[in-house]
C-alpha cells in the first residue's frame, strides 16, 4: 500500500475545491469510512473506484449532508465544511445524483428538477418559469425533446437519468457527484453523458464520478482515488495512464484481470427450453430460441430493446400476446407453472423484485422452496439454515452468515442469494437479467465462476446483459436483440465486441444476413 498523500498525477491545473482528511464514519457494527483522503480540483473529473462496500456510497452521503462524519476534516472552497442537512450541502454548491434514481414518479419533469427548491412566490409555484428553466436545462443536456410537464413515470429509464442530471444542474452546483450515472444508460446515451460532463468541467465545475466500468473512467476521468474497506488505498492516480492491473490491485488487494471461466464443450442434448414465435405488442416480436442443459445462452441488447420483457414473459410474469414457451415439452403459462417446471429467475432489480431486504439470508434463499423444509405445515428453521449454509458455501457467499439481513450484503453477494434460492429449489433453467449490475470487478469474476459452474452441473442458463464483453465472455451462444427482435445468433467464439456492438446499434455490418 502506497502513501495516499503522494500525489501521482497533475492532470488538471484547477485549484482544489474539496479536500477530505482522515474522514471517519461509523454505523453500529460497521466502520463504513475509516480514514478517507480525497482531493478534488475545480474543473476536473475525479473518479472514485472501489468494490461494493468500500465506502463510496457513505462518502458521497457525507458530502451530501445525509450522514455526518464522526471525525476528520472536510474543507470546501477553503472553509471547514460539515453540512447538517441535504439542503445545506446543496446551498453550498454540492449536488448529488444518486444511483437509485431519486425521483417522484407522480410529479412532472420540471417539478422533479426543482423539488425542494421550487421556484415560487409566497408559496405559490411559478409553473411557467420553472417549466422554462427546465426546458433550458434539458436543452443544455442535449434532450430538448423531453417535455417539462410530462410525468416522470411516463419516461424511459434513460430519460429519468436525464431528469436527475437536470436536478443537479438546477442547483447551480460547483461540484456534482455522480454515483454510477451510466448504469442505466445505453451506449449512445453514455456518449451524451460524457459530452455533458465535459461541458460542465469546461465551466470550472468539479465532478466526482463513480463507475465500475474502467473503460469509462479512462475516457472521461482525470484522476482516480481508490477506496477499499473505507480507506483510501491510492489517491490522485492519472486516470488514463494507470495500468488496469494496478487499479484492480488497489481495489481488491490482489492483482486480477477481468477473467471469464473457460468454456467446456457442452454435451449434445435436447433443449429444455423452447420458445417459439413469442410476441408482446410494443415490446418484442416473434422471438424464437432454445436452451439446452449445460449451455449458457446470452442475449445482448440495449436497455429498452425488449430483452428484460422477453425474459419476464418466458418466466410467465408477463402474458404473451402470441407464441409459446415450453419447458421439457410442457407449456409454461404463468409463474407458478414456470417454477414448478424448474425455471428460476434473477431479475434486474434485485432489491425490489427479488429480495426481502430485512429478512435474513437463509429465509431469502428458501423462499421458493420452504415448503420442502416444513413438517406438517410448520417450518423447520434449523434445516433451512443448514441448507442455506451449504448453498452459501457452494456460492462462496461473504460474509458466511445466513442470519444477516439481506440488506447488509454487497450487490454481488445479494445476487448470489437470489441465485442460491433457485439452486435450493432444484432449478433446471436459470434466467439471469443483468446479473452483474452494480457488482464490482472482484465479485464479478466470482459470479461468472458460479454461473459457469452451474452450467457444468447441467443447469441451462439464459442471460441478458447490456455489457457486450460479459455476454461474449460468459455465454456459449449469443443472440443479439434489437428493437424487440432477435436479429442474430452465433456461437460466442465466432463473434467479437465490435461486431456485436454494431448489430446491437444499427446492424450495418451484417445487414441482410438471415438472423
Amino acid at each position: 500500500m502506497s502513501d495516499p498523500s503522494a500525489s501521482a498525477g497533475t492532470a488538471t491545473g484547477g485549484d482544489p475545491v474539496l479536500r477530505l482528511t482522515d474522514v471517519v464514519k461509523t454505523f453500529p457494527g460497521v466502520r463504513a469510512l475509516d480514514g478517507v483522503q480525497l482531493e478534488v480540483r475545480a474543473g476536473e473529473v475525479h473518479c472514485l473506484l472501489g468494490q461494493n462496500g468500500a465506502g463510496k456510497s457513505t462518502l458521497i452521503k457525507v458530502l451530501a449532508g445525509v450522514h455526518h462524519a464522526d471525525s476528520g476534516e472536510i474543507s470546501w472552497l477553503g472553509e471547514p465544511f460539515a453540512p447538517v442537512t441535504p439542503q445545506a450541502a446543496m446551498r453550498a454548491g454540492i449536488a448529488t445524483i444518486y444511483q437509485e434514481l431519486d425521483l417522484v414518479d407522480d410529479l412532472s419533469v420540471a417539478e422533479n428538477a426543482f423539488l425542494g427548491h421550487e421556484q415560487s412566490r409566497f408559496g405559490f409555484t411559478r409553473r411557467r418559469s420553472s417549466a422554462a428553466s427546465t426546458r433550458q436545462i434539458l436543452a443544455r443536456l442535449g434532450h430538448p425533446e423531453i417535455p417539462p410537464r410530462r410525468l416522470v413515470k411516463n419516461l424511459p429509464a434513460a430519460g429519468k437519468q436525464i431528469v436527475s442530471m437536470a436536478r443537479a444542474l438546477s442547483h447551480d452546483a460547483r461540484l456534482i457527484v455522480m454515483d454510477e450515472p451510466s448504469a442505466v444508460l445505453a451506449h449512445d446515451e453514455v456518449a451524451n453523458l460524457f459530452r455533458i460532463i465535459r461541458e460542465l468541467t469546461a465551466q470550472g465545475i468539479a465532478v466526482i464520478y463513480i463507475s465500475h466500468r474502467l473503460a469509462e473512467i479512462r475516457e472521461i476521468g482525470d484522476r482516480v482515488t481508490v477506496l477499499k474497506d473505507g480507506r483510501t488505498t491510492a489517491a490522485n492516480l492519472p486516470a488514463r495512464s494507470t495500468p488496469t492491473r494496478e487499479l484492480v490491485g488497489r481495489m481488491t488487494g490482489r492483482s486480477m484481470e477481468y477473467v471469464f471461466p473457460p468454456r467446456r464443450p457442452a454435451p449434445e442434448a435436447e433443449p429444455v427450453l423452447v420458445v417459439e414465435g413469442l410476441t408482446r405488442h410494443g415490446e418484442f416480436a416473434d422471438a424464437t430460441l432454445a436452451v439446452a442443459p449445460g449451455e449458457i445462452v446470452g442475449i445482448a441488447g440495449l436497455v429498452g430493446s425488449g430483452r428484460s420483457e422477453l425474459l419476464e414473459t418466458i418466466f410467465g410474469a408477463r402474458r404473451a400476446d402470441s407464441g409459446t414457451v415450453t419447458m421439457d415439452g410442457r407449456r409454461i403459462t404463468g409463474v407458478g407453472a414456470a417454477v414448478a417446471r424448474g425455471i428460476g429467475m434473477a431479475p434486474e432489480e434485485r432489491k425490489s423484485q427479488a429480495l426481502l431486504l430485512d429478512e435474513p439470508v437463509y429465509k431469502n434463499m428458501t423462499l421458493a422452496s420452504f415448503s420442502g423444509f416444513a413438517h406438517g405445515g410448520f417450518t423447520d428453521t434449523r434445516d433451512e439454515r443448514a441448507a442455506a449454509l451449504r448453498t452459501a458455501d457452494q456460492l462462496e457467499l461473504r460474509p458466511r452468515d445466513v442470519d444477516r439481513p439481506a440488506r447488509t450484503l454487497s450487490g454481488g453477494n445479494q445476487q448470489k442469494v437470489v441465485v442460491g434460492r433457485w439452486l435450493l429449489g432444484g432449478t433446471k433453467l436459470l434466467l439471469l437479467d443483468e446479473p452483474t449490475r452494480g457488482v464490482d470487478v472482484g465479485a464479478r469474476a466470482e459470479l461468472y465462476q458460479v454461473i459457469r459452474g452451474l452450467a457444468d452441473d447441467g443447469v441451462a442458463v439464459l442471460l441478458v446483459s447490456s455489457e457486450v464483453p460479459e455476454v461474449l465472455g460468459l455465454a456459449d451462444r449469443v443472440l443479439v436483440m434489437r428493437e424487440g427482435r432477435l436479429v442474430h445468433e452465433a456461437p460466442a467464439e465466432e463473434l467479437d465486441e465490435d461486431t456485436v456492438l454494431d448489430l446491437v446499434m444499427a446492424g450495418s455490418l451484417l445487414e441482410g444476413e438471415p438472423a
Binding site: A64, V66, T85, P86, Q87, M90, T96, Y98, D102, L103, V104, D105, D106, L107, E111, L115, G116, H117, E118, S120, G123, F124, T125, R127, H143, E145, I146, P147, R150, N154, L155, P156, A158, G159, I162, R167, A186, D188, E189, H281, G282, L302, G304
Partner: protein, 333 residues
Amino acid sequence: MIAEAVRAKSPRQIDDGVIRNLGLVGVLIILVIIGIVTRPELYSDPTWVRNNVLTILQQASAIGVVTVGMTFVIIGGGIDLSVGAIIALSGVWATTLATQSYGAAGMIFTALVVGLAVGVVNGVLISYGKLVPFIATLAMLVSARGLAAQISGKQTQVSANATINDIASTKLIGIPLLVWILAAVVAAGWVLLNRTTFGRRTVAVGGNPEAARLAGINVKRHTLMLYALSGICCGIAAIMLTSQATSAQAAMANLYELDAIAAAIIGGTLLSGGRGTIVGALFGVLVFSTITNLFAINNLSTEVQNMVKGGIIVAAVLIQQFRYRSLTQLLKR
C-alpha cells in the same frame, strides 16, 4: 432513444385522473337515472329536483370538507382514522356553556383550535414519535371520543347561539352557505395541492419519501403539517354539523373516517400515497351522498343502505379499474 420513447408515449397524453373522474361522473349519472326510474313522479317536479340537488350537496358539505383534508394526508403517505373523533371533540368543546358564553366567534375559534391541536398531536406522534399512522390515529380515535364524552357528560349539548344555528339555514344566491363553504374548501384544497410548493412536496413525501428527504424537504415537519391540516378541516366540519343539528354530542360524525377514506380512494387517491386529486375526492363524496339520497327518497332503511353502500364502493372501484385499464390499452395500440 429517449426521443423515440417520449414520442411513442405521446398518445397517452390523456391524464389518468381525467379518465377516473369521467368514470365517477358516469356513476353519478347512473345513480340519477335509477332515481328517475324508481321515483318518476318526484323527478317530474322541477322545484323538487332543484331542492333535492341542494339537499345532496348540503349533505355532502361536512364530509366533503373532511375528505379534502383526508386526501392530503393519504397523498402524503399517511392515513387519519381519527377525523370523526376530532369532529366530535371539536363540536363538543365548541358547545360547552363556557365556550358558548364567548359567542359565535369564540365557538368557531374553539372548534378550529381543537381540531388543529389534535391534528398536531397526531402529526407529532407520527413524525417524531415514529408511530405508524394507522396506530397513532386509531389511538386518537378512541381517546378523542372518550374526551368528548367526558366533557359533555354523555349529554347532547344544544347550541343556543343563533349565529351558529343560522349557518345551516342561510342561503347565498339561492345556494346554502354550507355548500359555499364546501366549494371554498375544495377550491382552496385544489390550489394548495396543484399550485403551491406545499402541494408539490406532499406528492413527493408520499410518493418517494427518500427522494423528498434527499431533495432537502423536511419530511417530518411536512407530515406533521398534513395531519394539522386534516385537523383544521375537522374543526370546520364540526361547526357545520353543529349548525345543522343545532347541537353537538360525543357520538356525532360517527364513521366519518370510513366515508372520507372511501371517498378519497374512489376519487383516485392511491392508498399508498403519492397520487390523488381533490376533484376526484369531491366526486367520491358526491357519489356517496347521492346514494344516501337515493335510498332516502325510496324510503329504504339505513341497514340496507349500509350493505349496498359497501357493495357499491367495491363495484365502483372495480368498474373504474376495468374502464381505466381497457381505455389505456386502447390508447396504447
